[in-house]
Structure formats: structure tokens, C-alpha cells
Amino acid sequence: MSQSSGNMPLVWFTSLAIGGAGVIASSAWRAPSDLSSEAVGLAIGTIALGAGILVSLSHLGRKSRAPLAVGGVGRSALSHEIVLAGATLAAALALLAMYWQGAFSAWPRIAAAATATLFLLSIGRVYHLGGQRTWRGATVLIPLTAGLVCGEVFLQAIGNASIREDSLAYWIVPIDALVFTVRWWTLARDTPPLVAPRVDGSRLHNLSAARLLIFDAVPLVLLDMHVAGPAIVAVALGLALDRWLFYALADQHTTEAEIARVEAMIERGSRIG
């Protein structure tokens, strides 16, 4: 894996994609009641997801070959994610067009919501890799839970509704917080100690606590106080922090890292023995 400075495009891309798809999913899962909110959600989500896709293109070494990326369908998790990104974008636009024309049939709406949800899941799958010790387990679900948190908070905020009026938001934030905490606890428990270059020990705890606070707790409080704008800002910042932390914790297995681990054992073993 490239050094952290090369991660920033990935942080931007996945923040925009998760946030955007999450808003699309939340908007599409709701039976249209507060149409203006759902339409705004679809539009904003589409823009965010579209921006994220553009950012991910900029990360490619050979941008003109981007269309080849769908070639791995059936085998490559990354191909699936790319296809689902495009499908989510297309479905969101189609849904927007339908709403504009006043058509509200259920199946297209549910299909769009399901596509966006599957896309969120597929992001987690892309990073579920045998050579990445710190990217396994609960972390696979976080794009889904975090995306839906973004979606619910966003829709609540622009709809100026309080949290108790929608049962999905009531559940999804605690679920996301729980999933994240499980991941945090797993990382902290792991021995040997993490060798992630930029995040270790107390920094992990500080940043994880900050993420829970900024992403899960603060937006709920702000929504309760009917402070919409800051709630959206908090959830956006929290998502970016979540993604930054995710990549910063990358512990790519390489033979070099394995050798360093064994050398540390040799020196420790000699001190004891």
C-alpha cells in the first residue's frame, strides 16, 4: 500500500461515495412523504457520489482505461463496487426524473435503494483483504452503517424533523456506533501490537473516541436542538475522520513487515532469555 500521502484521494473518494450513496439510500428507502427532502437528498447524494467517482478516476494511473474496470465482474470485488457505483448513480438520476414527473411507483424506488445499499456493502468488501490485518471483521460493515447514518442525519436535518419521528435513524446511529466500537475494541485487543505507521496506542483511542463523538453523538444532539446545518457539517467531518482513520490504520502485510516482526521477537527473546 502506498504511503499515507497517497491515501488522501482514497479518503476523499470514499467519504464522498459513502456519504452520497448513504443519502441516496436513505432518500430512496423512504416512501415519499416529505418530497422536497427526499428529492434534495437524491440530488445532493448524486452530486456527492458523482464527485467521489470523479476523484477516484483522478487516482488512476491510466484514466483513459477506466471503462476496462468493469471487466472483473464475477471475480473482482473492485469491479463489483465500480459497477454498483455507476448503477447507484443511474438509479438515483432515474428516480429523480420520475419524481420530477410526479411518478411514485414503489419498485423503482426500492430498486434504487437496494442498489445504493448494496453499493455501500460492496465498498466494505473491496477492503476485506487477507493481507490487511486491520481491515477485517466489523470494519466491513462500516461503509453501510456510516452511509445510512449520513443519509438519515441529512434527511432529518433538511426536513427539520427531530430524531424520534423516524425510527430508522433511531436505530442506525446506535448500530453504527456499536459496529465501530466493536472494531475499536478488536484493534486494541490485537497482539502483537499494531505496526501501523501513523496510528498507535493512545492515538488510536483518541481518534476513535473523537469519531464516535463527532459522527454519532454530536449530530444527534444537534438534531435534537434543531440545529440543522451544524449537524450536517458534523456528520460530514465525522465521516472524513472515520475514513482517514481507516486508511491510516492500514497494516499491509509485506514480507518486510513480517521480517521486522520476527527481528523484534529475536531481540525480545534474547532479553528475556
Binding site: 474496470a69 473482482s76 473492485l78 483483504l129 499491509q252 509485506t254 514480507t255
Partner: protein, 194 residues
């Protein structure tokens, strides 16, 4: 070992790097990142463990993570097991850099694509050994053809080399010898397994 790959004799390898240079020359990679690297273990010669060198390039795995994950199917595996990367299908997305647990594929900023060892497939097809193997002055690095029988003591993993992702790399290691190092190696294997 079911596919074509390498055998590294940890007793004979002295970490000289001739294999690295030979690969550079053969593949015209004078200024780019090298496809092969030689990694020392315990070069400070701490008495708590042996000292040896791992010369690694690509392991042409039975279950190559690069191939499975590549969105544009730029990787292909030959019948003999050699995993070849087709540069003309590469997007430069660098996903294989993440999926490979061995640090094999290398991205070239200038070219915008990755590349890796292809076991000198052209040379193999002419009945020649890979360039790195031919250059090894102590005959520590050997080529193993598909299904080749190898020594009973050759191991799939040694302290410092692990397959964490079930890729089943086609590399084997003959353990180091010498009355002193044998003891240190056995103790280290035990410590690592614990």
C-alpha cells in the same frame, strides 16, 4: 509446490543482490523500481537468532490475490502457473498493491501502471532459467518447474515469510545449515510458531 516458482536456499544465499541486478538488466529496468529484492533477517547478528536473507520477487501463487482482485483482468495465469501482468490492460488503480500480501506489484509513477516479475516467461519458453536464477553466484536461487519434486526439508514458510491470505505462493525455502545456525534456526521456528 504445484506451479512454477522459486526455491531459495537460505544456507547459500549471502544477500549479494546479483539476482536484483540481473533482473534489472534482463527486463530493461535500469531506473525503475526493481522487481526483486533481497531482505536480510537479523543483519545485526543478534545472538538470539540466525542470520539469513530472503530473495523475493513474485511467487506466482496458486491463488493469486492480484489476479482475483484486478478489475480489468489485467492478470493472467499460464498453464505452468506463471502469473503474467498485461500492462496494456492496466488502469493503474493499484488495487493489486493492496491485495497482494507480499508487496510484489510495484506502481510506476511515470508510466501509470504496475509491473512485477513474470518469471522470465520468455526465457522459460526457450528452456533457459530465469535471469535471477542464472546469475546467482552461489546457486542459492533456483527455479522450480510446475510439479517439480523438491527436497524434503524445503519449507513453504520460514520465520520472516508468511502467507497470511491463503494465496499459496509457489516459493520454498531450504533451511540454513552450519552447526551454529541450525540450532538458532530451530529455536526461532519454535518461537515464531508459538
Amino acid at each position: 509446490m504445484s506451479g512454477a516458482g522459486f526455491l531459495v536456499d537460505l544456507h547459500r544465499c549471502v544477500g549479494c543482490g546479483s539476482c536484483v541486478l540481473a533482473c534489472r538488466i534482463e527486463n530493461g529496468r535500469a531506473d525503475e523500481l526493481a522487481w526483486r529484492r533481497v531482505l536480510p533477517l537479523n543483519l545485526k547478528r543478534h545472538p538470539g537468532g540466525p542470520t539469513y536473507f530472503l530473495s523475493v520477487a513474485c511467487h506466482h501463487c496458486d491463488e493469486p490475490a492480484c489476479l482475483r482482485g484486478c478489475p480489468s483482468r489485467a492478470y493472467e495465469q499460464r498453464a505452468d502457473g506463471v502469473v503474467v501482468h498485461h500492462e496494456d490492460r492496466c488502469l493503474g488503480c493499484r488495487y493489486c498493491e493492496m491485495t497482494c500480501p507480499f508487496g510484489t506489484p510495484k506502481y510506476d509513477e511515470r508510466l501509470g501502471v504496475v509491473s512485477k516479475c513474470h518469471l522470465c516467461a520468455d526465457r522459460l519458453d526457450q528452456g533457459l532459467a530465469p535471469a535471477c536464477v542464472a546469475a546467482c553466484p552461489t546457486e542459492a536461487l533456483r527455479y522450480q518447474g510446475p510439479g517439480a519434486a523438491i527436497g524434503a526439508d524445503a519449507r513453504a514458510g520460514v520465520p520472516g515469510f508468511l502467507d497470511p491470505a491463503g494465496c499459496r505462493p509457489n516459493i520454498r525455502f531450504a533451511p540454513p545449515k552450519g552447526a551454529r545456525r541450525v540450532v538458532l534456526f530451530a529455536a526461532l521456528e519454535k518461537m515464531v510458531r508459538r
